[in-house]
């Protein structure tokens, strides 16, 4: 018997809990040569801003021990081109997709959210309240419960779409920030975004990123991500989407075990473009092996 992998994120039902993480999956279509992208629980596209954005100058990426730093700075095609060129093709491919959005001001967040609200095929809006690589907005809102409340509340009023708020790990107490998002109307929280880091070249004496600092992702951050997801799951009632260093089915299962309702796979897509489907198949195989009929029988079942 095929185990039931479907999960609910508030009113939204996904066929399975495996999504791609924003910024690591392009606009989704890039993966069509590799596999049928409609198989994923959802695709979360690269962060969209109101106007197209150039992003930071290169170097934008550096490899670190079991991880990488990026300072892309949200280069993206903007919401209009997304609506005109990308969204219809994602629908044609049968994909379930969510838009990650970003603004320099609250008004810009609202404007992007409003503009996307009319897109019937859009499953959800994920608010990036946590990008460490842009000067304004982004992390500023994500750093305090007050900032998150303000941002979440305003975007909430701007759209009827399911609303996910993506949290920054660069805080002392992520659970209280998640609680603020919950109280202000988020349908789910996703975490973690990248951890701020830095790399320098001791010979050239220069920072390796043009932006000096960047966001750390990949297996290196998994223990931190898992701890934060666990803390947030114990605090909020809304669904939690676990992100951070997930590379294999067992990584994904760990996040589900501590209470995440779904997961997003980021950096792993780079080394292995098949990562998301391999994780999906691995979860299914594990449930079968354990004779679990429903992923709900495993989720959150961490033993004391």
């Amino acid at each position: 018997m095929t185990p039931d992998l479907a999960v609910s994120l508030g009113s939204l039902r996904l066929k399975n809990p495996v999504m791609s993480a924003s910024g690591t999956f392009g606009y989704g279509l890039e993966f069509a040569p590799f596999y049928d992208i409609s198989r994923l629980g959802a695709i979360v596209v690269k962060g969209l801003s109101l106007a197209p954005a150039q992003g930071n100058p290169p170097g934008r990426i550096v490899e670190t021990a079991s991880g990488m730093l990026n300072a892309i700075g949200l280069q993206n095609i903007g919401v209009e081109r997304f609506l005109a060129d990308v969204a219809p093709r994602l629908s044609d491919a049968g994909a379930t997709f969510a838009a990650n959005i970003y603004g320099r001001t609250i008004e810009e967040y609202e404007a992007v959210a409003e503009r996307l609200s009319g897109l019937a095929s859009l499953a959800a809006i994920e608010v990036n309240a946590s990008c460490p690589n842009v000067k304004e907005g982004g992390m500023a809102f994500g750093a305090t419960p007050e900032g998150i409340s303000l941002l979440t509340g305003r975007v909430r009023r701007a759209t009827g779409k399911p609303l996910w708020v993506k949290l920054s790990p660069n805080v002392a107490d992520i659970a209280s920030i998640a609680a603020a998002a919950e109280d202000s109307g988020a349908d789910a929280v996703s975490l973690i975004n990248t951890i701020v880091g830095m790399a320098v070249d001791h010979r050239t004496r220069r920072a390796r990123l043009a932006n000096v600092t960047g966001g750390l992702s990949g297996p290196a951050i998994k223990p931190v991500a898992l701890r934060m997801v666990w803390e947030v799951c114990r605090r909020v009632k809304i669904p939690v989407i676990g992100i951070g260093g997930i590379q294999t089915a067992s990584d994904a299962l760990e996040f589900l075990l501590v209470g995440a309702q779904a997961v997003q796979v980021g950096t792993a897509n780079f080394r292995n473009p098949m990562a998301c489907v391999e994780i999906l198949e691995g979860i299914e195989a594990f449930l079968r092996e354990e004779r679990l009929h429903d992923i709900g029988d495993y989720r959150g079942k961490l033993l004391p």
Partner: protein
């Protein structure tokens, strides 16, 4: 013949041998054959563990038909850091993960053009496949290969298309092999004696250090010769989804960041903001 659709393939190392001081030549078997355009590349990994984490971009040096419908692919690489050192330690039989073929290769246009292929350092690995194709087409081409010293030139037997007199020019900065000097200077000297008509029929295909590309690009532009430059940049994905590998390109009045892995690695040299 158009390049295969990109894929993620579980390869297996067939051969991985050192040549000279610093080059390795690696051959891997693939579940299915690949076709590629000269200048296209692969993202290669395969060492165990997550450190290093990211795959390494390597130009596809050759690809062929293996036995029983399987494919093979070859790379030539120089050991410069941890990833290439790890690659050099892998043995026949070891697994190798490959995403390929990637990027936009050289545009080898149609008839009537004359090509100069320029390879600085391990840049030859990117231009040799173009030479092989031009040789098959019996197109008019010459090749310029430069390196710091003798051991860093590719073994002669690797040179595609035979070595008809005057076809392949080798040079070293220390004069230990071929002519004495930088490949840049030698190419620029040859350019200086071209007629206007000759220059306008010339396309340079080049891969090598950025300084080399930049100098040759400037000379080519001032002569009205065409030039396609294969660029390098640090990459995370190699297939256009991370936006990590951008370079600034001139687009009309403005400049924009374009992905080396997707819009490149081969760019019209006039568009690159050097």
């Amino acid at each position: 013949m158009s390049p295969s659709r990109m894929r993620f393939a579980a390869g297996r190392i067939v051969r991985n041998e050192g040549h000279g001081e610093i080059f390795y030549r690696l051959e891997a078997s693939l579940p299915e054959p690949v076709e590629f355009d000269p200048g296209q590349f692969a993202m290669v990994s395969g060492w165990p563990g997550n450190d290093p984490l990211l795959p390494r971009p390597l130009a596809i040096f050759r690809a062929g038909q293996g036995t029983k419908g399987k494919g093979t692919v070859e790379f030539v690489y120089k050991v410069v850091g941890r990833g290439t050192a790890l690659l050099s330690g892998l043995h026949p039989g070891d697994p190798l993960s490959l995403t390929l073929p990637l990027g936009r290769g050289f545009d080898l246009g149609k008839d009537g053009r004359r090509y100069w292929l320029v390879g600085g350092g391990v840049g030859f690995a990117t231009v040799f496949p173009a030479a092989a194709m031009l040789a098959r087409r019996r197109a008019e081409y010459e090749m310029f290969l430069g390196s710091r010293t003798r051991d860093q030139l590719p073994p002669k037997e690797w040179t595609p298309g035979g070595s008809a007199a005057g076809r392949v020019h080798r040079c070293t900065e220390d004069g230990t092999a071929g002519s004495f000097g930088r490949v840049t200077d030698i190419v620029k000297e040859r350019m200086a004696v071209l007629t206007e008509a000759e220059a306008s029929r010339l396309t340079i295909l080049a891969c090598g250090p950025r300084e080399m590309l930049k100098e040759i690009a400037r000379a080519a532009a001032s002569l009205g010769a065409g030039m396609q430059a294969a660029l390098e940049n640090h990459m995370a994905c190699g297939f256009g989804v991370c936006w990590g590998c951008v370079v600034a390109l001139r687009e009309g009045e403005k400049t924009g960041y374009r992905r080396v892995c997707r819009e490149g690695p081969v760019f019209d040299a006039r568009e690159v903001v050097w």
